[in-house]
């Protein structure tokens, strides 16, 4: 049998799989430096004068969505538990901060600590319930929690009910720009570090097959709960700052179901189970959504739906996953994979 993987000439002549594979290896070997470089680049626009206005808001929201997408991916991509309720953490973080700042008159940093505590307690309690479920049941249960917490918030006086909370005397936009950037950089560093530890490997093992992971002797409940709480922590931090950044919070904004779909789409488009994928997906999709929102008002959800359908059908592994598979494809043939049994001739022309 002769196997010729060379089917799309131009891409292969410009960027052969081997070269891309080496590029991936290079990025893997210098991950810390790349995260550091990204942080420096992200910090530069205000230094060069971008301190307020539309672009500042758009960039801040890109960092915000990258945090949300990467947080979703800790559980949905790395652990294989796709949640449709991450925005519940966002809303609880947002309301906790808003209540503490507005009603208790505490400072922003202390309010953020309160928000983190509230979110972690909430995550621990509902994690014990929903993490017993798998697949569709888990997804539906998390969606149910999001809808329930939204309704509860709407019915409480302390949250301002359906009218929400208007927040005055908030820090300037540049504070939130750097806050979102800092949280994103820390989150990327944490996820990158974890992917190289036993914790990260065990999350991936749970994603691949939880039964096998249990047979290896792992207490999968512990690891799933830890991942769930880590995702809640970063999502809650983002939500805590967002209320003040937006100067207004109501149940529709805080527990935004469309955002929950957006952040999943971002992770899928960028590539789940990777560090860079959800961030790339967030930057890319948010840029497109901003363009559509400004140029084709009212069509952003249509675009989102189309983007998800196209991604799922054409690029189910996302940008990073598709490139990774392309870079790895020669391994399968060259290293005696299933197609390359001993008695078969394999051509590996490149």
């Amino acid at each position: 049998m002769s196997t010729d993987p060379d089917t799309s000439g131009l891409l292969r002549s410009i960027l052969p799989p081997k070269r891309l594979d080496r590029l991936f290896d290079l990025c893997g070997a210098h991950g810390w430096k790349l995260i550091g470089a990204g942080a420096v680049v992200g910090a530069l626009p205000p230094v060069f004068g971008l301190r307020e206005g539309y672009m500042m808001t758009v960039l801040s929201e890109m960092f915000l969505f990258a945090i949300l997408a990467l947080s979703w991916d800790i559980v949905g991509g790395q652990t294989g538990y796709p949640s449709f309720g991450n925005m519940a953490f966002f809303g609880i973080g947002g309301y906790a901060t808003a209540i503490l700042v507005k009603d208790a008159a505490v400072s922003f940093p202390i309010a953020m600590v309160g928000a983190v505590v509230a979110v972690l307690v909430f995550a621990a309690i509902n994690g014990l319930i929903v993490l017993r479920l798998r697949g569709h049941y888990f997804a539906i249960a998390t969606l149910g929690i999001l809808l329930a917490i939204q309704q509860v918030t709407r019915n409480l006086d302390i949250t301002g009910g359906a009218s929400g909370k208007i927040l005055f005397d908030v820090p300037p936009g540049i504070v939130f720009y750097y806050f979102f950037l800092a949280v994103l950089v820390v989150e990327m560093a944490v996820v990158y570090y974890l992917t190289q530890t036993r914790f990260g490997f065990i999350l991936n093992a749970i994603r691949d097959d939880e039964g096998k992971a249990t047979a290896m002797g792992f207490n999968t409940t512990y690891y799933k709960t830890a991942a769930w709480m880590l995702a809640a922590l970063f999502t809650g931090l983002a939500g805590g700052a967002y209320g003040l950044f937006n100067t207004f919070l109501d149940p529709q904004t805080a527990y935004n179901g469309a955002w929950n779909v957006e952040l999943i789409a971002m992770a899928l488009m960028g590539g789940t189970g990777t560090v860079a994928g959800p961030v790339i997906g967030a930057f890319g999709l948010h840029t497109i959504i901003e363009y559509v929102e400004s140029s084709f008002v009212g069509w952003q959800l249509v675009l989102l739906g189309v983007a998800i359908i196209v991604t799922v059908i054409r690029f189910p592994k996302g940008v990073v996953g598709t490139l990774r598979a392309y870079a790895n494809e020669m391994d399968y043939y060259e290293r005696g994979g299933m197609a390359a049994t001993d008695d078969e001739e394999v051509t590996t022309d490149e």
């Binding site: 991936n204 691949d208 097959d209 039964g211 096998k212 992971a213 002797g217 189970g273 005696g336």
Partner: protein, 238 residues
């Protein structure tokens, strides 16, 4: 007669309200290879799962070297010196061979111990050492099964449970895998295997059990069961 290492006495087991095993009694001696055969749906995998803590044991006792392990979790059983290779390919395809090996040793608190044990096993399984950086998803079926066996040895188990080690493999790989199972046994690991390829399984077994409808119907040495006309007619296609 050698000391029994694994015993099931009057075990009734299944899942929730469904009973699959009815009053099962087996005894495996230290250093033996035991093979469990039987038709599809007879409860072979459930028997393995009830030993390892994946199925519910409703009645009876299971002992591992005089220590009762009935209803113990997989984590406890692994710590007690028993490992389990699940049916079908159970490697983690997105991880490298080396990462898969380490997964088998992460039950140790000390990562260095897992690394050292992996190196020991690469000496025993040189082919795995040669492809340690290769992604497990690109391995052939035989290589995957070899990786599963080596990974199960990371904890240096006294007893290894193997569920259908030949499933999905072509004949030449089946011979390789059984050769390796015999080598492991010679090194001191007691093995209980469930095997659909009954002829092959019984041919390497010191002890054989025939399970049907959740009950042990026949017991004997592997050779006795292979030569038993009734067993041959009903279960070996002879």
């Amino acid at each position: 007669m050698a000391e029994p290492i694994l015993e099931m006495e009057h075990v009734v087991a299944g899942y929730g309200n469904t009973t699959v095993l009815h009053d099962v009694n087996i005894e495996i001696e230290d250093g033996q290879i035991a093979c469990l055969i039987g038709p599809n749906g007879s409860g072979k995998s459930t028997l393995m799962k009830s030993i390892y803590g994946f199925a519910d044991v409703m009645d009876g006792t299971i002992t591992l070297r005089d220590r009762e392990i009935t209803g113990r979790s997989p984590q406890e059983n692994l710590a007690n010196g028993m490992s389990y290779v699940l049916q079908d390919a159970s490697v983690f395809p997105g991880m490298s061979v080396h990462e898969n090996m380490l997964m088998g040793g992460y039950v140790f608190e000390d990562d260095d111990r897992a690394l050292a044990r992996a190196e020991e096993l690469y000496d025993e399984f040189p082919i795995l050492g040669d492809i340690r950086d290769q992604q497990a998803g690109t391995l052939s079926g035989g290589q995957r099964r070899l990786l599963e066996l080596a990974r199960a040895l990371m904890v240096d188990p006294e007893v290894m449970l193997l569920d259908e080690p030949s499933i999905g493999l072509e004949p030449k790989f089946i011979d390789d895998v059984f050769e390796r199972i015999e080598q492991l046994n010679e090194l001191g690991t007691t093995i209980l295997l469930v095997e659909q390829n009954a002829q092959k399984g019984l041919s390497v077994a010191d002890r054989g059990f025939v399970l049907a409808s959740g009950e042990i119907k026949y017991t004997g040495s592997g050779e006795e069961l292979l030569n038993d006309e009734e067993v041959g007619r009903l279960y070996l296609g002879g």
